[in-house]
Each structure stands twice: as C-alpha cells, then as structure tokens.
C-alpha cells in the first residue's frame, strides 16, 4: 500500500468517528482550560494550606473523554432570544385540524451509502463521460463532471455536478428563468431519475450565489445558480431536514443534481399535542432556529406568525434516528434596539410528541 492509497482510505473514515474525535477534542480543550484555571487556584490554595499547616491537599487533573449524546429535542439550540414580554400576532393555530396521533418512523441504518448499480444507473442517466466510476470527481481539461457518493450517517445519495473547471458561480451568466419554469424542469428530471421514488413534492425554490461572489458581497440580486429543493412527504406530511433532492440550474442549463434519501419504517402511532398546546409553547426561545447574528435578540417586541404546519423532522440525531412530528412555525420577528426598528424572519420547531413518549423512545432504541 502506498501513501496516496492510505490517505484516500483515511478520507473514507466513518464520519461518526470524525464527529466523535471533534467532540472529544472540544471536551478536552474545555477541560484543560478549566484545569489550567483550577491549577492556578489550586497553587494559591496550596500555598495557603502550607502556611496554615494543612497537608492533605490533593489535586486531581480533570481528564476525561466523554461521549456526547445528542438530545432528541436539540434541534433548536438556545438562541438567547428573550420572548418573555413579546406580543404575538398573526396565526394562533386554532384553525388547524390534526389527528390525535401520528405515525412515528425510524430510519433504517445502512452499511453503505448506495450500491454500485444505483450509482451506475445515475451515471448512465446523466451520460457521464467516464466508465470507471470512482465515486469522486473526475477532472477533464476544461470542464469537470463528477459524482459524489454521500457517506454521512445512514443517508444514501448521490451528488452529480457539471461545472466549468476553475470557474466560480459569478462567472456564469445570471439565470433568467422564472422559478415556475425551473420547478417544472426539475420535476421532469426527477421523474426520470432512476431509483428515486415519486414521493417528493415542491417545497421551495431557493436562489443562491456561490463562490467568490459571496465574499465580494454583491448587493444586486443576480442569481448565477438557482436551486429547486424538494423534500420527501411521508404519510402526507413534509419531511424537513435530512433527505431530499436539489436540482441546480445555471444559465447554461442543468448544473447539479443532488439526491439524498434513506429507508424508513413505522414504529407505531403516538399522541401529539394539540395546536392549542403547541401555541402555548411559542414563548420558548429554545425552539427558535435561524436568524441573522446581528439581530438584537434581547429586545424583541413582537412576532408575527405567518404560517404553521405539522411536519416530520429528520434531525439525524445520533441518539435516535427517528422521523418525528414537529410544529413548523414561520414568521417575522420585530425588535427595537439602539433607537432603531429591526425586522427578521424566524423559524420555530415545536416538538409535537407528548413528553411522556421521549422515555419510551429510550426503550425502543435502547
């Protein structure tokens, strides 16, 4: 085995091992910082102890490698929002009609991302100009075509890219097609892609700039790549989070396709909280995710709820690979700070499962 091969093998190291390493390293860094602080305090304390004749002073370093377990509710991290004295306007969920219980699903683990036949079929479909499929980028003289096999956790999927080599997004001519035209084109492509079940719906069309143009911070909304993002639907509810299809268009045509999906199976029906109960929880800042860093979160005056729907969330947590229901709330948040009015969009995920089921999940997955 040569060094090149060894490094390529290491590149395929199980991502969970890398995650564990990163978390362990962070814990050690924190503990060592604590230890250094305590070392200083202990040194002073030891001096005092010696002065006063105490001899039984033992200092033990803080060395531990802790496993970090993800909490099932950790989708929304604390954003330091202060929502204690906020006026809520807009929807109050009272007109939502939902069943008392919904099916819960678990994601079936796979030992591989996708098999050779699946990848080969994708390559054939896109007429990729190479026969020996390496699951990696293949560079040509001017362009590069590539496919990337996802190997993260249980997900299986592909990423297919066609892009001019050495160019950034901003070097493409801007995309002029309307969102509707691109969605229509995307759906046509998705229908033809082998191995993709017809379970995806239009969720939203995203527009994005990439590469250098981001760093240059253009003001004009000039889109060099537009991505149409499609999410799976299970049991009539959209799945937010992992999985889905993204079709990206440049002015030159199809630029990239990502397919990322998974196997899942039902594990039973579970009661959910009512819309009224969910509405009572909207003051919990833990459930708010995604806002601009500059937004003054401590001076929120009101939140205008524009939409709320029950969705499944595939949060891909290590502890429990479940697809579980959440109330998915979106709207506008207002703040007043430094003699200025602020406005931003917010997204909130309120867990819909009743609390009592979280301990049951321990038994299911334990």
């Amino acid at each position: 085995m040569n060094k090149n091969e060894w490094n390529e093998g290491l590149n395929q190291l199980d991502p969970e091992i890398v995650e564990k390493y990163v978390e362990t390293k962070e814990n050690l860094t924190k503990n060592n910082a604590k230890r250094r602080k305590w070392t200083r305090i202990a040194a002073i304390a030891a001096c005092i102890a010696v002065v006063f004749g105490a001899v039984d002073f033992v200092f033990k370093p803080f060395v531990s490698i802790d496993k970090v377990n993800f909490n099932i509710e950790s989708l929304g991290q604390a954003n330091h929002f202060d929502l204690s004295d906020v006026e809520f306007t807009g929807l109050n969920f009272s007109d939502m009609t939902l069943p008392d219980e919904v099916e819960l699903y678990r994601v079936s683990p796979r030992n591989y991302a996708c098999d050779g036949n699946e990848v080969k079929a994708m390559a054939d479909y896109f007429r990729l100009p190479f026969e020996d499929f390496k699951f990696d980028f293949v560079e040509n003289s001017a362009d590069y075509y590539g496919t990337k096999r996802f190997d993260m956790s249980f997900l299986r999927g592909y990423r297919l890219i066609y892009r001019r080599s050495g160019t950034s997004y901003s070097q493409y001519p801007p995309v002029t097609d309307t969102d509707e035209e691109l969605v229509s084109k995307s759906l046509k492509i998705i229908d033809e892609i082998p191995f993709v079940e017809n379970e995806h719906i239009e969720r939203y069309v995203q527009t994005g700039k990439g590469g250098q143009s981001i760093q240059q911070g253009d003001e004009e909304p000039c889109w060099y790549i537009k991505n149409c993002i499609f999410s799976p639907v299970i049991n009539g509810y959209t799945v937010v989070g992992n999985g889905g299809i993204s079709v990206g268009f440049a002015r030159t045509g199809l630029a990239e396709v990502s397919v990322n999906y998974y196997d899942y199976e039902p594990i039973g029906k579970y009661e959910i909280i009512s819309p009224e109960e969910a509405y009572e929880q909207i003051t919990n800042p833990q459930y708010v995710v995604g806002h601009n860093r500059d937004f003054p979160v401590n001076s929120v005056t009101s939140m205008d709820i524009k939409s709320c729907e029950l969705v499944y969330v595939n949060a891909c947590q290590n502890g429990y690979d479940v697809i579980q229901p959440y109330y998915y709330v979106r709207g506008t948040v207002y703040s007043h700070y430094s003699d200025r009015d602020w406005e931003d969009t917010f997204t909130m995920y309120i867990p819909a499962l009743k609390d009592k089921y979280f301990s049951l999940l321990d038994n299911i997955f334990g």
């Binding site: 590149n11 091992i17 995604g290």
Partner: protein
C-alpha cells in the same frame, strides 16, 4: 443597553442559513471555524497560501453540500471536507517537491508498511480500506482512538496530542507504537500488502 459583542452563531443556526441559501452562512462559518480549518489544512500542507485556497474550497464545498445534507456536527463535517481538499492538494504538491508538513512526518512513522508516493492503483478500493480503518479505530480504546485520529487523520503534532491528553510525549509515542503494530496486523489480516 450594552452593545452585543460579536459572538459565533450556534451550529444549528449556521446550518439553517445554508438551507436558506443565505450568504451569511459562509460568513458565519468563516467567523467561527476559520482558525480551526486553517490549522487542519496547515498540518497537511505547511503552506499558508495553499491553506487559504483550501479554506475557500471548503466553504464552497459546504455551500454545495448543504442542503441537502444536514450535518450532525458541523465542525466534523467541515473537518472531513477540508481534509479531503488538503490531501488532494498535498499529493499534487508532492509531485513537484517534498512537503515539510506534519502529515509528511506522520506518514513517515508508518513507513514500515506504507511506502511510496505512486498514484493510486486502478484496482484500489478506497471505500473498502475506509471501512477496514474504521473497524480498526472502533476496536481501539477511547484514548487510542483519539490518538489515532489526531495523529493520522488530523495530522496533529505529537506535542499537541500530549497536551490535549495531559500525557507525556513519550507516553504518546508508546501508544502510537502499539497502535502501529495492531494496525499492521489488521491490514495484513484483511489481505493488504504491507
């Protein structure tokens, strides 16, 4: 009211920005992880300009991958991306001249059974080797897992690993020697020519 200091966003919010295709995602990633990612790239390449380019490619890679990916641990996800990009550049640079990086040193430690800088052979299956190495890592104790990944994946200097674990440099060397013997046995048992 006191003006808020510039604090890094939590990872969930950064990932959400990627999902919203909000350009601030890259800005926030850069603000939070630039130093860390540069250190990984530097361990591999030992060349600041190359490291900067790796960093830009890493951000572009993240932008392209999220969505549809929603990483469990953003930092680990970025680690994987930056390492892959840096390694590719490392082997390209190696064709021109030697690279005096920590990766070169860590590879030289394995020269008993991992030799030469030739291109990858046509029948080489990286995914299989990845599984073998992953199985091997899982079979190690927690401490040795950390040492293995630090030294051979992240190319961390031995002094840095010793400092992380509050162990002496000689203790880390002993651990690495034991890991090396076990690794060689594992690779041989899996049919690799070492």
């Amino acid at each position: 009211m006191k003006k808020r200091d510039k604090l890094p966003l939590d990872d969930e919010s950064i990932v959400e920005l990627y999902w919203q295709r909000n350009e601030k995602a890259i800005e926030e990633t850069d603000f939070k992880y630039k130093k860390y990612l540069l250190s990984i790239a530097y361990n591999v390449l030992h060349e600041p300009l190359d490291c900067e380019e790796c960093l830009n490619d890493t951000y572009l890679g993240a932008w392209n991958a999220i969505p549809p990916t929603r990483p469990n641990v953003l930092k680990a996800f970025l680690t994987v991306v930056v390492r892959r990009i840096a390694i590719k550049r490392y082997h390209r640079n190696l064709k021109k001249s030697s690279v005096p990086s920590e990766l070169t040193v860590s590879l030289s430690e394995l020269e008993d059974f991992i030799i030469g800088d030739e291109d990858i052979s046509t029948d080489f299956d990286a995914a299989r080797l990845g599984r073998v190495i992953s199985d091997f890592v899982r079979s190690l104790s927690e401490r040795r897992q950390f040492i293995f990944v630090s030294r051979y994946y992240a190319s961390e200097p031995i002094d840095s690993i010793a400092s992380d674990l509050n162990l002496s440099r000689s203790m880390i060397n002993k651990e690495l020697a034991a890991i090396k013997i076990a690794l060689r046995e594992k690779l041989e048992s899996e049919g690799y020519n070492v």
